[in-house]
Each structure stands twice: as structure tokens, then as C-alpha cells.
Symmetry: C2
Subunit: 267 residues, 2 copies
Amino acid sequence: MSKNKPIGVFDSGVGGLTVVRALMERLPNENIIYFGDTARVPYGVKSRNTIIEYTTQIVDFLLQNEVKALVIACNTIAAVAGQKVRQMAGNMPILDVIAAGAQAALATTKNHSIGVIATSTTVNSNAYARAINSQNPKTRILSQASPLLVPLVEEGWLDHEVTRLTVQEYLKPLLAENIDTLVLGCTHYPLLKPLLKKEAPHLQLVDSSTTTAEATAQALANTHLLNDSHLPPDYRFYVSDIPLRFQTIGERFLGRSLEQIEMMRLG
Amino acid sequence: MSKNKPIGVFDSGVGGLTVVRALMERLPNENIIYFGDTARVPYGVKSRNTIIEYTTQIVDFLLQNEVKALVIACNTIAAVAGQKVRQMAGNMPILDVIAAGAQAALATTKNHSIGVIATSTTVNSNAYARAINSQNPKTRILSQASPLLVPLVEEGWLDHEVTRLTVQEYLKPLLAENIDTLVLGCTHYPLLKPLLKKEAPHLQLVDSSTTTAEATAQALANTHLLNDSHLPPDYRFYVSDIPLRFQTIGERFLGRSLEQIEMMRLG
């Protein structure tokens, strides 16, 4: 039965594990297969053509594994290659962090001024602004490329003075524009939520990992694809490289121990 | 004549351009061909096997271009794949930033306590300690992985409070051990020299880009390979991807305008 088939979740690296974590909590019956392209991370600094080429290889791999739905757990891929994924995967449910985040931001904002922090590529793609404005053209979107936040999270400086100053610097132009809602436009950023809440307590934070999990639950329900088996779910994690500290960093993102990691080289 | 052949310089990305800059200044007659693996940067977070595989592809490409010498302008590659490069390239001069930096550090230190800042992979490889101790086993080497410095340099925060605090944090354990010499063990770090000099004015800084250029000049002289042509030198730059902001960042590293960039996908 196709209901038992796994949800395919993918990212350029480990960040998408924050989405897997949210999916495990929201949809505890679902089987999940994850692909993280750790050999070629980060995508956020690569050209559009390269990102599309790498994404095609990942989606091929997940389709060979007979997934019933795809979750693009990477803002850069969603911004640059979302259309390509939809072309390749036909009519199965396809969710992505940008669509889910945009929807949640619109449902949250009161003053229609939304800030977005993300990698340079995501910001330059203008994808959040397009997704939000396609539903409400009057909403203002202020975006800020924040390339230092990923390495700060990976360094584990989640509550460090350096991170606080960096966040202040990145938020300054957004706060000057009086935003009331801040989209965490990168799957690494949920780990910075405690610090962001301290630095900007009046902002509503949109965490696209939880909003994507919610959107996935709705899409599976709408298409009658929710898994009704009561077997314990099967989780498989594939990465294209297993670098130093992968286990440590991955488990910090997933919020539990990472087992059954397999290496799979693409391309 | 083989004297006219280019020097092949390579790196995982743009950092090696600081070495190219030093080579252009020290050896203004030499032709240079550069390869930066910008599609797969950074190497510093990848496994040993992946780094060796990618390095093999780069060296193949440069050997096909008939270089007369190779300069490994990347600490991670020198640390992990230096031996592989020497196996592949036979008996041409092969220089690398670690060997050159180690030699210069030994010539600089008075109290035989040397600090090294570098990426996690370089630090974990222990390559500087091995290179220094093979010549003087009594020298103490204190190493500090400094993964945030590369993104800070690429963000252009060369004189920023955040960078100052980050440098202080990374230097603290080294200064506590009373080092008198600090090796900049990553080709991005020469751009931080002004800030490092302010933060630790009593330290002697070893910049492996200039020390590698000097070592290259000596090796070419010893093997009678110095170019004696008076034609203007030919510089060619190959990268595996041309991402956003590549020009800006590359020119900051090279210290002059970057022309004749070609894209070359390997593997």
C-alpha cells in the first residue's frame, strides 16, 4: 500500500534534520527517508545551475526509493529548484519550507510587515517575497542575508556573545522597518530561537520546520496518504559524506540519536 | 621550454588567491594557472577520502595543462592529501602552505612555542605539529580550530566587533600558553592580519601565502625552472562554479581585478 511508503525529505546538509524532527513529532506514524548532501554542502553559495543539477540527482535517488511525498527541507533548494522538483515528481504531494513559511508568516503578521533572515542565495532569489506577495501583494517583506548564522550554529555558539552581536547586526535594518513577524528562512535557524526571542521579544518567529511538518500533515490527509499502520516507523538517513563531527552536529539538529546513517555518493 | 610553463596553484575555493597574489609579487615573470573548486568548497568539513578524491581530480587537470610546478594553496588539502599529490606529480617541485608555514614558524619563534589557527580538519590532521616537530621535536605547538574565521572573512567583516570577539575567543587558550609566534593556517586568514596585529601586538604572525611564494621561488631557482622570458605573464583562473559574489570576494583576496575566469567542472 502506498500509505506505508516513506516521506522523502532532503537538504544540502544536516539542517533539514530540524524538519525531520518536526515531522517525527507531528506525524509519528510516518516512515521517513532523509538525504543530506553533506559532500557538497553548502548550496547557499553555489550558482543556480549547480544547485539544480545536484537537486535533480537527489530527487532521482528518492524517487527510486518509492517515496509517497517529497519535503524540500532546504530553503536554497526550494528557492532555486522548487519548480524542477515539481516537474520531476509528478503529482505526489510536494512540500517545501518556503511555501510553508510564507503561509505561516501571512497568518501571523498583524501589521503586514514581515522580516526574513536567510542565506544570500535564498535572499537573492526573492522567493519568500514572491510566495508571500502572490497571496497578499500589500504585505511588505524585508529580507536580510545572514551568512554567519549557519557557521555559528554549527560551532554550537547558540548562546554566545558573538552570536548575540551578529544577530543584532542582522536584525537592525529589519527592526528599523518595524516588522512584527520574522521568518527563520534557513533550517539551521530554529536552534537560534531562544537567542532570537531574547534579542527581539516582541517579534513573532515563524519556524519553517514546524510549519512544514503541519503543511505535510494536511497534504497527506487531503490525498488520503496518511500512514494508518501501527508498526513502529522506519527512519533512514543517507548522506553523501560523513565528515568529522557529523554525528554531534546531526544529533543536535535532530534532537535524538542518529542511527542507521548510510553513505550514498551521487553524480 | 619548460621554464615557460605555468605554475599550477590550487585550492578548494578562493582562499588560494592570497597565495597567487604573493606569487605574482615575488615571481612577476611566472605564468600561473589557478584552480579553485568553488562548486565543492569548503573541504575543511569533508572526510579524508572525499578530500583525496577531489584533490586527485584537480591535480589531473593541472597536469594535463603541463604545469612545471604545483603549489598546494589550501591547508586542508596539504594536511590530508599532500602525499597523494606528490605521488601523482612525480619529480616536479611541489610546494605547500603547511611545509612553508612550518619552516617560517621555526625560523621566527624565539621561545619555541608556536600557535596555529586553522580549520577543524587541518587542526585534527595534526599536520603543522608533524611538520614542525620533524625538524625540531622540542618545539611546542598549540593548535586552535577556528571555523568562524572563514565566513567572517567572506562576509567582509575584517574590522568588525564580532570578528574581534571571535578572534579573542580563539586566541585565549593560545595566549595562555605563552606562544610568541602565530601561524595563519588557512589561506583566508591573511586578510585578518591587521585585526590580529591589533589584538595580539606582541605575536609574530606567519602568513603562509608569502612564505609559500618565497619557498616556490627557491625551489624554482634550485631546479633551474625560473622563467627567464620577458613576455608579460599569463594568468588563467579556473573554478568549478561561479557563484554569487565570486568576483567581489575573489578580487578582495587577489588584490587586483580578476579576469579570464573560466568554469571547469571536474569529476
